[in-house]
Symmetry: D3
Subunit: 145 residues, 6 copies
């Protein structure tokens, strides 16, 4: 029988939707008030779901303390109380990235988090879902289906 464990994390960050190679009007049309400088913010809730073998002695499928350390180091420390457009390289609008920078939308942010976690989880711990709630009305989710 396959069991999953879902753990919730939180971080507060600000972000901005604005393409440097577009003019003001194009940014407004695409992003509305999300284009306001220098950005607004959210209390993000992050749900990380993993699966794995349940250890018959401890009853755990993952060492929770280790999972917390990984998520804290890879995601929370990197994003909490930061401006996403500068804290994350692919969301940075420096000149060299112009045209290639990504907007820190929930879609792109959840994909970034998923990649970071996938690369950092200990062996035997399988990531099955990453869910990111921007506020109580909007969530982005990746799952392994």
């Amino acid at each position: 029988m396959s069991i999953c464990l879902e753990r919730r994390y939180r971080f507060s960050a600000s972000h901005l939707y604005r393409r440097p190679e577009w003019d003001e009007e194009a940014n407004r049309r695409a992003f509305g008030k999300c284009a306001n400088l220098p950005g607004h913010g959210h209390n993000y809730r992050l749900f990380v779901t993993v699966t794995g073998e349940v250890d018959p002695l401890t009853g755990f499928l993952v060492d929770l303390a280790e999972l917390d350390r990984v998520v804290d180091r890879e995601v929370v420390q990197a994003l909490d109380h930061q401006h996403l457009n500068s804290a994350v390289e692919e969301f940075r609008d420096d000149k060299s990235r112009s045209g290639k920078m990504k907007i820190p939308s929930s879609e792109n942010l959840v994909a970034w988090i998923r990649d970071r976690l996938e690369a950092a989880l200990p062996p035997g711990v399988v990531l099955v879902k990453v869910r990111l709630e921007e506020d109580e009305d909007l969530a982005a989710e990746w799952n392994d289906r």
Copy 2:
């Protein structure tokens, strides 16, 4: 990598569980206090989950304003502050439907919503889940598994 977006909507409506071709006792036995005339009500929470290609420029897999317009027009405007047994044709107990009318249960309501949204979503936006919470203890869900 496939990403989904889940958006929450809300509406308040009243409804009634009662088959017109059954007598009072049969209605009571099947539906209990949900058969009370003219009906009781709920604050429904509706979660619509869609997927699609993430636009590399905007970072969006759906135009949220358009999704909101569709759900508002097809579902919220149709049901909010309404009595479901008269607002929705298939839940109506007029004589012509006797024996064919459907009860506005959460199961039937979520199926009705799913059909309405499936038919109205813009091209490229794929509906993957519709979740309807009647109250904090009961939810009905359709998903594309």
Copy 3:
């Protein structure tokens, strides 16, 4: 030291805002879609706060089972799965009350609940607050300040 106890209850009901002595247009102007016939509904959350002497042996300021029985009998049984405009006499729009009927607004409903509970609570149990949440954005409250 004075301690209070707050207990949460729930009921689902439908209601309608409509004055029988007003014409359609006046009702629409005052009540908007809350005037839709035969009414819409909510999952109400009711918070009843009481105070009293803490019994040194049990550590209780109220017998919770008795409080639950009183609130269930006086409020939940009376309102759950009912249409407030007919279940409660002062919200009824029968001809004899025309001009004197009350609208089942959150304000009037919380006052009605408070009066019912005040009259029925066991001796030594003092009602200090009654809070009624119609949905997650609106609450009416009475307190003894």
Copy 4:
């Protein structure tokens, strides 16, 4: 179209993480403060999701009253206001089980609940998910994928 119904239940219980065949130090290292005697506790939230044929007359895919009776008898009555390490045989640390007892972790508890429900659900009602929230930051889940 396949529809699921999710129902929420609650129970409060205490538990303890401690292997009788390990010494104090090994228990502390593996379980930290969860090894504190005689245990701590949680308000568990249990979400049971089932599917089945929607009855064309009632609009129900399951008789909710019957589902509630089954879950109440098999899970809530068995666990509510109990110490999981004694209420459930496989979590009991009596001598005969030493080395075979299971720790009442969320992973093991959700598996135990799933087995109990699977065996007791009425014909035609298919269990598709069991989710157990220990607190607002941790949930274990079984699903039929």
Copy 5:
């Protein structure tokens, strides 16, 4: 009998804790990661509680549509998707205010909101409480006690 009505509003904003007349070290010591440039953000929840005479005909103590218009104009439009340190004059760190600018803490922000609402509410509507939740663990509140 005095009844209050509490209405919930929401806005997302970013802010920064940093005194322009202090050096980096002093700002870090006082504000920690809240001093990170250009700021982080929150989903604020605002609860506005008012009292007044309940109209015997409508059952309302305030015209909710008007209350919503006032709070939207005075608070939500002014702060939503903004950076509080520039959107609100007293939180602005322009040179002329140096030493007099206020930090956009929850305490100062709730006081600012309270003053704005007090000045703008229609006659007969009395503000009794303003509660501002920065996240699920921290709230600032003004009340008229």
Copy 6:
């Protein structure tokens, strides 16, 4: 203008309602399943509300880090993952206290927390409310009215 700050804390604990000088039947009659040995448990949520002078430079009425340290040391460390009937002296049923021990009800627990915090808060920080939620339906509260 007087502003309050409310901070939320959490801890998980087990407890037992049982008077050592009463027989089994009397304990059952008074406490029902809360008398089950060795006890059940809850995820407690604790809301601590303080007031004080808002510092014109920092905008803070309390040093949050210091408030967190005090509440963590005085309450969370003392109670989290503990059995309240042994962790707190006045709830202990050792022979010497027989007849004087207190039941760890929410009423008694919130009073104990309030006394601990009152004695430990830094000068200038005034405790105005302590609210303890045992589960989503029951809360005990002390306030300074």
